[in-house]
């Protein structure tokens, strides 16, 4: 795993020790250890995407209001395909709520 904290890009090795504690090796700073632990146990991503905008040629940009589990990215994108947003839309308007049972909403990121 490569740390994303800074351009160093430390190669992290994450293992569990005898007590079941997670051990991050290779990190050269504290932030790297935290990232390694998170990324190894519950990796998350903020997903940004587009949805259709009714009656408009151009699409609407959206994001998950919070990061969602990395494994659900493509499920979340699939859910968006059936959504048709309606103008006028404002930044922060919920476009699709509780994406794939994550409890996180897709919200608009532009005013149209």
């Amino acid at each position: 795993m490569i740390c994303i904290g800074c351009p160093m890009g430390c190669e992290l090795t994450v293992t569990k020790d005898a007590n079941g504690e997670i051990v991050v090796e290779g990190a050269t700073c504290g932030r790297g250890k935290t990232y390694g632990k998170q990324e190894a146990t519950a990796p998350e991503r903020t997903v940004t995407a587009l949805v259709a905008l009714e009656g408009k040629k151009r699409p609407l940009s959206v994001k998950t209001a919070k990061p969602i589990p990395k494994g659900k990215i493509f499920d979340a994108l699939e859910c968006l395909k059936t959504v048709r947003a309606k103008a006028p839309v404002k930044i922060g308007d919920v476009v699709l709520s509780d994406v794939c049972g994550t409890g996180v909403d897709f919200v608009a990121t532009e005013n149209l």
Partner: protein, 481 residues
């Protein structure tokens, strides 16, 4: 049935069409590709040659010198830029100087006016950026530069204004005659008939001729690679700089263009396929090397684009083959027209048109239109003219191509005219949009939108140059029916 079918809408085909449109004749131009100037006419050195290069007595020599003399008048009538910037053939050693003398004598035999040899001092004064190795040059004051696709397009536009019809995407597969009627069949099986055929089909010209005549010709496609440098280099050379031909071949030229960019090239390489228009690492490398003979510090970091053109070199006569085939009455050739084809085109057009008209016993029209669908060019107008224009058509107030300052009005006009643009490259050649330093980075999406709007097609059907050259493959959210 048409009176005349011209096969090929390059600069030669269009010049013949324009000259023929002065006669009472129904003329049809069949072009295999999607637009005018889609072969050698779109990718060449853009040089109006003086005429010292061609073998005395050859068609190349005759039409070069005559064509050159016609350029002012032709370009004035067509509203296309033409500059007599002079040509210089540079010698890089004392051993090469006698060759310049030979070129001078040959040029004089061909009737090229004003040739003289200049020494190093005069050369340096005229062209301060010339390599220190240069020792002298042949100066040809009648050498010039023009825009080959602008010339072709406006020639076609004027031909169309005088009744010539143009059909595109009609590659001719077979040609035959029966009872004085010529029949052309395209690759898709469409049939066209005419009393006379003019074969101006560039790299295909031998293929058509050899179907109807016992006098066989052979076209060897010859590729030349070029690079275009940014207009920031404007002024580096005033004249077109040729290299004295030597054991290393003809070398490459460095020349200003009428659009203020700098053209460098061409290499010369015989190739198997007339479609092999790719540039190559080998060719570009060779061109870089050769061009430094003229311009030691030539700034290739200022390159804006590279391209290659295919010349139709005839290998039995090494000359233009012009006129009626001896054993095929009504079949006229403009075959093997390679360099100096652009320079010769106006003269070839005139002679072939007269020959065809005489064969068909056609009369000259009493009135001829000089319309070439000229549209206002934003960058050439005064504030008052612009305001008046924008009040009438606000499209002229919206800049689409930033690098070349081209307005939406110009883009739309280039689509709406008689031989209008149907592709992104078609717009590019008619307006210069996308030809600047950003190479369409900003304006391409806008051009797609305007083209789709004017043609009434969805944007995903817009192509770069016809066929499957689609700009985008699909829409993310197809509109509901």
């Amino acid at each position: 049935m048409n009176d005349v079918i011209i096969v090929g809408a390059g600069v030669v085909g269009c010049s013949i069409a324009r000259s023929l449109s002065r006669y009472e004749l129904d003329v049809l131009v069949l072009e295999g590709k999607e637009d005018v100037a889609s072969g050698a006419s779109k990718a060449n050195s853009a040089i109006v040659h003086a005429g010292f290069d061609a073998e005395p007595g050859s068609n190349k020599a005759k039409y070069n010198v005559r064509g050159n003399a016609m350029f002012e008048e032709t370009c004035r009538a067509l509203h296309v830029p033409f500059i007599r910037n002079t040509s210089l053939v540079v010698a890089f050693s004392e051993e090469e100087m006698p060759h310049l003398q030979k070129l001078l004598e040959r040029g004089e035999q061909n009737g090229v006016p004003g040739l003289r040899i200049i020494d190093q001092a005069e050369l340096r004064t005229l062209e301060p950026n010339i390599s220190k190795e240069a020792v002298g040059a042949l100066l040809a004051p009648t050498g010039g530069i023009c825009c080959p696709y602008d010339l072709t397009f406006r020639t076609a536009e004027n031909a169309a204004a005088n009744g010539v019809k143009f059909l595109f995407n009609k590659p001719v597969k077979t040609v035959s005659s029966e009872n004085g009627v010529w029949t052309l069949v395209t690759e898709s099986g469409e049939t066209f008939q005419a009393r006379a055929v003019v074969n101006a089909s560039g790299v295909s010209s031998a293929f058509l001729n050899n179907q109807v005549s016992a006098t066989k010709y052979n076209i060897q496609p010859r590729r030349g690679e070029y690079v275009m440098l940014d207009k920031s280099e404007k002024g580096c050379f005033r004249a077109t700089m040729f290299q004295c031909p030597g054991p290393m071949g003809k070398g490459v030229l460095v020349s200003p263009t009428v659009d203020d960019t700098i053209i460098v090239g061409p290499t010369s390489e015989d190739i198997d396929s007339p479609d092999a228009t790719e540039t190559t690492a080998f060719g570009l490398d060779k061109m870089r090397r050769l061009s430094t003979r003229i311009w030691t510090e030539i700034p290739f970091r200022k390159a804006i684009t590279t391209f290659s053109g295919i010349r139709a070199h005839e290998t039995t006569k090494h000359d233009f083959v012009l006129g009626e085939a001896p054993d095929a009455p009504g079949f006229f050739n403009a075959l093997g027209v390679e360099s100096p084809g652009l320079t010769s085109a106006p003269a070839i057009g005139q002679d072939l048109a007269d020959e065809v008209a005489s064969k068909l016993d056609a009369k000259k029209k009493e009135t001829v239109s000089d319309d070439v669908s000229i549209w206002p060019r934003m960058r050439e107008l005064s504030t008052e003219e612009l305001n008046e224009l924008i009040a009438k058509d606000p499209h002229y107030g919206r800049v689409i191509c930033r690098c070349e300052t081209i307005s939406e009005g110009e883009i739309r006009a280039s689509i709406r005219c008689r031989v209008g643009a149907r592709t992104i490259d078609g717009i590019k050649r008619r307006t210069r949009a996308t030809m600047g330093r950003c190479q369409g980075g900003f304006c391409t999406p806008r051009l797609m939108e305007i083209l789709a709007d004017e043609l009434g097609i969805p944007q995903e059907q817009v192509t770069k140059f016809g066929g499957e050259s689609r700009m985008v493959l699909s829409r993310l959210f197809p509109e509901e029916k």
